[in-house]
Amino acid sequence: MSQSGIDHQKRYFRSLDELQQTPEFEQFLSREFPQAASEFPEGVSRRRWLQVMGASLALGGVAGCRYNREEIASFVVRPEGRVEGVTQQFATNFEWAGRVVHALVTSREGRPSKVDGNADHPAYAESQPSDYAENKKMRSAGADAFTQASILSLYDQDRIPGVLNRVAGSKAPERYVKADKKADPDDHKNSLKSWEVFGEYVANQRVKFVASEGDGLAIIYEPSRSPSVRRMLAEVVKNYPKATLVRYESVFSGNVGKAIDAAGAGKASMVFDLDQAKVIVSLDADLLGADSNAVHYARQFANHRSPVEAGDSRMNRLYCVESQYSVTGSAADFRLAMQSSQVPVLIRKIEEAIDAGVIVADKQEEVPYNKLEGADRVKRIVECIASDLLTNKGASVLAVGSHHALAVQLAAIRINAKLGNIGKTVNLYEVSDEMAGVPSIKLDDFVKRAKEFKSLWILPPNPVFTISGDVKLADAIKSIGDVVYLSNYDDETAEYCTWTVPATHPLEAWGDVQAADGVLSIGQPMISPLLVGSKSVIEFLAIMLNLPEVDGQKIVMETASQVLGGAISERVWKESLHIGFVAGTGGKKFSGELKTDGKSISGGNISISPYALPDGEIQLGFDANNLEVVLRPSDSVYDGRLGNNGWLQELPQPITKLTWDNAAVCSIGTANLLKLKQGELVALRMGDSKVQLPVFVIPGHAEGSFTVNLGYGRSKAKGGVVAGAVGTNLASFRRWNQAAIYTGVEAIGTSVPYRLATTQDHFALDEMGMSEQAKRSPQLIREGTLDEYKKDAGFTGRTVEKHFENESLWQEPKVDTNHKWGMTIDLNKCTGCNACVVACQAENNVPIVGKEQVIRGREMHWLRIDRYFQCDQVAMSEAHLTFKDPIDAKIVTQPMACAHCETAPCEEVCPVAATVHTEEGINAMAYNRCIGTRYCGNNCPYKVRRFNYFNYNTEYGYFYGWQDNREQASQKLQSLVLNPEVTVRGRGVMEKCTYCIQRVQNGKIQSRTKGDGKVHDGDIRSACQEACPSHAIVFGDLNDKTSRVYQSQNDSRAYAVLEELNIKPRTLYLSRIRNVPKRLETAIQTTPIRPGHGDDHSHESGDHGHHS
């Protein structure tokens, strides 16, 4: 009983007898049948029988006691009013793939099924659009794709079901073997063990540690934003003073913290307030995409993307300089493609210009920006950035990517300080530091000193996979005898570990996180651990340390008490769980003076000469001797830890639209000059680092630069059903001392073909296809500059020539008296971040299909984000360039789902009436009636219909060799993620977006049962709308003149894609307006080619629709 950590459950007594340890009960426990039962043949006395039955009854009755002890406060629906079948929502918070999630989890009968953002959390509440304040129902927090997909990882079929034991030196098994199936003599060496067996091991270990004060014990940990985790790690050092903490961050961003520290703000987190910023300069910082605060930033950014200046609404301006094309780049008003390795030079030039006080009036120049060459071009950009920053002092932000060097980080802080942005648009929030004074070493030091250690605990997910190739972590682990690894999977790291302890998913455990602004946010479990015995980091550490308190909730409460500076009361605790954060907490904003003069540096052990930024000319063109490779975490699988999440694997990466793979992404020019071809392997070399990757060509990528995503190339056996055998492992290329940017790289093309799975035609289109795409995209995604909009607010409608009103062949459905559902997507707000795509997948049970099927073009996403390139066609034709080498290509994105056309082309061709119009104008699918002629798919001009070529919902990986790996039981586990309100489609039927018809129905029912019988604006929100961080998607009733959707559809920017087909779609788009500085306008932006513009044609078609 002393090993309280392991057998803590025993403290829940099963009966009063157990509590009193009566002899009867002891006997009851030790014998299979109670005494009376075995005496049965001799006859049982009535008294004895009653005793035994009473005991059984007590046993049965108190079995559920445990669950009552951990109460989860409900968020919306009171527990006492709980109705079966009605979903409940709970607030929780957790760390997920390098970011903090403030979530609102939808739970059905105790089963979490959807994760969205918590709109009440201070991180989001303060960044609500001002016009949403009057209608609380419209508020939503949004979430990123990782958060949306986190629910699938909970039901991952490959999570290890128990403690996994490997005897050192024995052959690693293909898969773990259940202890009861002993076919192989080696099995007993590699098998699932019970917690009791592991407990004995831990007890023995502890005796050793206590004796040696932890000498020889190392713990690899990941820097965490959870105060409890930090506290527990500090606890380790308190208990075992000689233990060594090893800090390891798979995606290194430590330079930001170091720079803040060096600048004199201590331990603080830097958070931008884009709500206040009128000018945002992003240098290789993917603020709206990969940044850990991306959701927050996207909301703030989108709040000021209205071209109509009124009250709070205005247009901010986003400059983006980057090597790869990022989400931020595609949303930017002005974007420059430049090698990441030149960012230090650029930032130096910007700083020099600011110091010199360069302010240039913003007026149209004689030579348009894109006709400038090299140095002139850079000069103009720097001038524009500097003068915009200087004229918006205190209302501007300059951000650099967290992967850049310390000197660059310091320069950014310095510039922001010079502009007076600190405390206004750039906030430094004090972060509580439970680990202050606790020493730690770096992972490479640990590997070098591996011989000094006898025991190792590994906390971060899969370091053997994520580590750079020159650090031989696997060998180090092998040389240490006792290795305990807390993990979800039997992965590459687990292979070398003696014990692998199952880890909980954040939705299964208690935890806490500190929000970016320091607010303490509690994470509560949504469900008991699905795999019995799994432990969260804090529980695991408590058990390993033999702490008196091993209960997650208690640990988190204790941390909260410490943060609050006194015991947290039951009432405050429950309230905090209810709202998702502890009110009254929050980091202090740094308000002192930063040490930015360049002379003194304080803070810890940093001693560098940070202001020596390189000077020189910025080379925008291709230079074969100066190639670089930039390694970035994947937008889909992060560092690989989300690799087994099918939704994310199949999520088209925002710009490349690549799924199930990583690739060396480069520009067209670079590919041509290096003779690289799309879909062929390229060998990248730098010294003894080398790796072979498929080439992916995209216009607008910086010349001479390759971007490669981390997290791919898991081994087939270890990667799990989903992650195995896709992509390329970069370990052989990565070097410990280089975080992200590798210069002086050699790239040699091979002609080895490689099949890439993209959901959109990759760039290897033929010339004709490219030129047609370039011709069509300005009509599909209508775009103009702010100047143009101000001159002619209705230019959007004149982008397409319309000659006369078309008549319908068929009678159109009458919808006058009903609801008239519609949707508007504001392209000016949409960043193309993919959150809506995963949200739709989670809400509507959209299956994944696997890499082979994506190559076949059979992906099932109901909502996709189309990406087009736009280029200056006039300039290109003047330069006699073909569309294979577009210049100044801009990427524009457009979410595309079923537009619910009023005269739907799909409906009239269906021979069995399986797709029909509802009275409310929703183009509905009757799955049961569908026989799969696929005619509707052909006739849909948007190609948003999806066909189940196979039974994708039960099997996937067709023709890929691993479709059989899914066991029956695993399928059942995975199917827990399904939304019971949406039909699971079988093979042979069509499916598509339904405007979340289940939500529409629920909203109508709610309005009848709870409301006044009317559906109000905001009562019904589609899944994509709810997930959208930037409020770009609005859904509602078009018959309600006050609804936001009605108003937005009557905006002068509203247009229908392919309106000339007379299909009358219910989903309209608002055109994109870019706030381009006049001096940086390209020729096409200054004189856009629009039908009805300037020439005689305007008299005929300018007033379209009113004459015929």
Partner: protein, 478 residues
């Protein structure tokens, strides 16, 4: 007996000359009622040549493979084909239209040429009609197995169901297709069968085995050859011909609606109905030539299916091939003239986009190769016409491929463009349909009257009259 008609080399007689004032003989040799009966009946009565057994063995195996693949398809799902988003319709539909097109020649020859009193049809109409039926069989298989849930394909029929009181959706061209192809198949079958009745009676009368006699006896519905029978037969035949004639035009018109009524650029054109019908006749005649050239040699029927028959068919191939070529040109003109950017791009893309190879294969085979028939020498050479007719078949398959797949692969939104790649199953199942077709045709040769004896005999007097009336011209024959 059987030597009467084949004791001369038919190649020496050229009945393809049209000498003014003289009527060229439709059948050659000094034919009598008896010799015709002998020639036709021995096809079924004599033991089949070795070639038949080899061909049938091969084709029936292929047919069995096809049927097994259908089973596999229903088991696994239509995903085994290469169909994708956006090319939701691919090879199965291409094959369907291909076979339906081929099915045109038979009824055209029997019905329309009959109504126009084209006597040369008599030697070839039976085999062409049979070919029609078998092509419809092949065509009919595809739409049924093409749907995602083949076991529910019967929902396309307007049948009264007890649990779901609803009709199919009548605005859908696919439904029109069901009716059009269904009507065409049933009328063609009746027409074919009715025309065979007198000949079946001949087979019955000549049968030596009682079983054969019984079966043919049942099939010929008690035909005695009485003048009353003949009178009713002729009336019914004319009526059916009149009924079938518009179907020749309607069926492929309706098939073309599958495309023309949709709004996919490249499909949505008004030229499709005539263009499809011309193409169908073109491909149908080509298939008839492909079949009859080896058929007449194998069964030594050169005197009945003479070079003049083949020459006539080749002229029709030349005419329809040129029509098809004109249609291609018109489509291009309209794509440019209409100034519809989507349509313009679709056609431009067909010819010069990623599917250029399919387009130019189509043009070469369909437009250029039949032009060789301007040369009389090629028109009357069985070898040349066999090769050209196969080219036309290939070209017409590619025409459907080009229409169906290139239009779908690049439609309105460039984000959804795709490139279709067939799978092994696409290929095997197209190949397999030929197994069904050839097997059925071989069985037809084996068991049914392949040439309409009674009708050929009907033109015998004309031929003989023509031959005898101009002794001088053909004196050396006697």
């Amino acid at each position: 007996m059987a030597t009467i008609a084949s004791n001369f080399n038919p190649r020496e007689i050229d009945n393809t000359d049209d000498i003014p004032g003289r009527r060229a003989p439709l059948i050659t040799g000094d034919q009598s009622y008896n010799s015709i009966t002998e020639m036709v009946c021995r096809v079924a009565e004599n033991p089949q040549p070795m070639v038949w057994y080899i061909a049938f063995g091969f084709s029936s195996l292929t047919a069995v493979m096809f049927l097994s693949l259908i089973g596999f398809l229903i088991l696994k799902g239509v995903g085994i084909w290469g169909n994708m988003n956006p090319v939701f319709w691919a090879w199965p539909i291409v094959n369907f239209v291909f076979w339906v097109g081929i099915a045109h020649a038979g009824t055209l020859i029997s019905a329309i040429l009959f109504l126009f009193r084209q006597n040369w049809r008599t030697s070839i109409n039976r085999a062409s009609e049979a070919m029609t039926i078998f092509a419809v069989v092949c065509a009919g298989i595809y739409p049924g197995i093409h749907v995602g849930r083949a076991w529910l394909a019967f929902w396309l029929l307007p049948y009264p169901s007890l649990n779901l009181w609803m009709w199919p959706q009548f605005r859908s061209p696919l439904l029109w297709d069901v009716f059009a192809v269904g009507t065409y198949a049933s009328v063609s079958l009746v027409f074919w069968y009715m025309g065979m009745i007198p000949d079946l009676a001949t087979y019955r009368d000549r049968s030596k085995s009682p079983l054969r006699r019984m079966i043919y006896g049942i099939l010929c519905l008690g035909w005695t050859g009485s003048s009353r029978h003949w009178m009713r037969y002729e009336k019914a035949y004319t009526l059916l011909a009149a009924f079938a004639a518009p179907l020749v035009l309607s069926v492929h018109t309706v098939v073309s609606f599958d495309f023309a009524v949709s709004q996919v650029a490249g499909w949505h054109t008004t030229i499709f109905p005539p263009y499809f019908v011309a193409g169908a006749i073109f491909s149908g005649f080509a298939m008839v030539v492909t079949l009859l050239v080896p058929f007449r040699t194998l069964y030594k029927l050169e005197n009945l299916i003479t070079l003049r028959h083949l020459d006539n068919m080749n002229k029709i191939i030349l005419a329809t091939g040129s029509l098809v070529g004109l249609a291609y040109a018109t489509e291009f003109f309209m794509a440019w003239y209409s100034q519809n950017p989507y349509e313009y791009f679709t056609f431009f893309n067909r010819a010069f986009g990623p599917y250029w190879w399919a387009y130019w294969t189509m043009v070469t085979c369909n437009v250029i190769s039949p032009q060789l028939f301007w040369f009389r020498k090629l028109r009357t050479s069985p070898y040349a016409m066999f090769v050209i007719s196969i080219f036309v078949n290939i070209g017409m398959w590619f025409e459907r491929f080009v229409i169906t797949i290139t239009s779908l692969s690049r439609d309105f939104l460039p984000s959804s463009w795709g490139y279709f790649r067939p799978t092994m199953f696409d290929g095997l199942m197209f190949f397999g349909s030929f197994g069904i077709f050839i097997s059925l045709f071989l069985l037809f040769c084996r068991f049914l009257p392949t040439i309409a004896m009674s009708e050929v005999k009907g033109i015998l007097s004309i031929t003989n009259h023509a031959a005898h009336g101009h002794d001088g011209a053909h004196g050396n024959e006697h």
